[in-house]
Amino acid sequence: MTAPNSAMPPSTRTPGSILRSQGPLLDVRNLSVAFPGHLAVRDISFHIDHGETLALVGESGCGKSATSFALMRLLPRGTAVAGEVNFNGIDLFRTDARALRNIRGKRIGLILQEPMTSLNPVRTIGDQIAEGLVRHEKLTWTQARTRTAELLDLVRIPDAARRYDDYPHNMSGGMRQRVMIAMAVSCNPQLVIADEPTTALDVTLQSEVLELLDSLRRQLQMALLLITHDLGVVAQWADRVAVMYAGRIVEQAAAHDLFERPVHPYSQGLMRATLRLDDGTHYSNARLSEIPGSVASAAGEQGCAFAPRCSQATEACYHAPPALVPFRDRLVACRVAVEPSEEPFRAVVGR
């Protein structure tokens, strides 16, 4: 690969620091996304530094995918968006459509969950990768072809030069996801957004694909926004984590700190409910810890969206949503966790 974009400052990755004050690559402020009849993302703010991996983690319907589509301005018609998204000093929400096209695909790459449907089935994979190079990098098709072979090699597709003329259906799921990765990184982007990149893949391929993404991130000095529901993926591959629940970020911390000691009751519940291979529990000797109810019970909630499922909720939790505030080494949106002096109060669950 060629050297990364000259406009890009040297990697300033500092995992663990969440209260950086200057020059993040992507700075999202007060982002809200509303689909018809449903507020999917509620006033969230976060940033991504050059070269770091931030994971947005949460369960289905928590707004993590809506967030990623909003960043790329790829939301369906009829969706309302508010807030500010600064990418390298450019406000993505106010820039015109042409400038946006030059950012999408060139400076921000996108990898989606389902590699079969995100690739055009009637075009060769090589042409699909080369097209971005021709459009954004102004290469000729011949140059783009050579470069595409290099990219296929870079994403560890065996026999790369020969695979240019393959169609998506000739490839396995893991191979197609590698093609998607090659496409996303083809123009040396500064940021890659990966939306559940391994969810459709087998466990045996999962770590391979994530390892590939991570080594490309280091090699090409890109930042990675990893969107996933899988805590295991987060623990292994993210520098920082933002846990989302019902459209809000409830906890944001360095990956290590979060897994070491989750603070928000939802993060705690998620970790307790997650089965681990090495914890020795078996159905015959231990019951799994559940989070009662479902996200649906958060609909129309005035206060903290997690309160109806929370065992520590107090009266105050039902009145107003808690703000995301600094707490020790992280940001947390929970009254009870931040002010542990208050008397815990058993909430009625599943109403």
Partner: protein, 312 residues
């Protein structure tokens, strides 16, 4: 006598003039009250095996003995009494419920077809089942799309329970669900097993779920069982390189223990191109010449498990 005793079972498909053996010479048993896990990558034939046992897919050779009777050759009316005793829970809580039937219709039809009781008796059984899976009775008059994924999976479980079966084949019952819901459903399945004395054949690709939920595990690769044993031995001492790789592939939650090495070479080959000799050899780190010449048989090890590998 075992509840389910499968011997040399084979399921083949014809595809473009070729014969694909999705299930190839598989033998195992499931005892009363036992939970047997079946793990493997997608495409290894584990789902087909489950459906073959329930006679939803025709088998091409072998025996499926349920309570001693071979049900493989049965068809039509002769199968119906066995259908009642074996049921299935599906992966996709959205595709497995008829979108045009209310929950009550869904459950009632099954009872009607098997002529189980009059209206009051059927209502009693429906209410009992819906209580058992933890849904409110008001759910009965609603349609599947009105429920969340976890609730729909409870409806699917209710449908599997309504005929009071002895064996339930669970085909990836929690892999489409969110983590917090997964735990709810697994706990429910544990309760049902204990209260009703059910046996499960639990199909999953998720090693951590299988380790928690099953008594005995079968590891399947390209239509064959390559290792089987009790959950403790298999986890503490996996002997087949494939089992080892599946266990290693599970991400660790310890953020310190980052970035394990790539554990398997390449992708699962297609069932139409099974390699000669050991079918795992193309992806195996330890493969030697012998592996391409000779197919390893499933051998019983002193440690208790059975392994199909020359070097185990």
């Amino acid at each position: 006598m075992q509840l389910l005793d499968v011997e040399n079972l084979q399921t083949s498909y014809h595809s473009h003039g070729r014969i694909l053996r999705a299930v190839d010479d598989v033998s195992f048993t499931v005892g009363k009250g036992e939970t047997v896990g079946l793990v493997g990558e997608s495409g290894c034939g584990k789902s087909t095996l489950g459906k073959t046992i329930l006679r939803l897919v025709p088998s091409s050779a072998g025996q499926i003995r349920f309570s001693g009777a071979d049900i493989a050759p049965l068809s039509g009316k002769a199968l119906i009494p066995y259908r009642r005793r074996m049921q299935m829970i599906f992966q996709d809580p959205f595709g497995s419920l008829n979108p045009r039937q209310t929950v009550r219709t869904l459950l009632d039809t099954a009872l009607k077809v098997h002529r189980l009781g009059d209206v009051t008796e059927r209502t009693r059984r429906i209410n009992e089942t819906i209580d058992r899976v933890g849904l409110p009775r008001t759910a009965l008059s609603r349609y599947p799309h009105e429920f969340s994924g976890g609730q729909r999976q409870r409806i699917g479980i209710a449908r599997a329970l309504i005929l009071e079966p002895e064996l339930i084949v669970c085909d990836e019952p929690v892999s489409a669900l969110d983590v917090s819901i997964q735990a709810q459903i697994l706990n429910l399945l544990v309760d049902l097993k204990r209260d009703l004395g059910l046996s499960y054949l639990f199909i999953s690709h998720d090693m951590s779920v299988v380790r928690y939920f099953t008594d005995r595990v079968l590891v399947m690769y390209l239509g064959r069982i390559v290792e089987s044993g009790s959950y403790e031995t298999l986890w503490s001492n996996p002997r087949h390189p494939y089992t080892r790789a599946l266990i290693d592939a599970v991400p660790s939650y310890d953020a310190q223990k980052k970035r394990t090495a790539v554990v398997l070479k390449g992708d699962l080959p297609s069932a139409s191109q099974v390699p000669s000799g050991c079918r795992f050899r193309l992806r195996c780190r330890f493969a030697q010449e012998r592996c391409s010449d000779e197919e390893p048989a499933l051998r019983r090890m002193p440690s208790g498990q059975s392994v199909a590998c020359h070097f185990a």
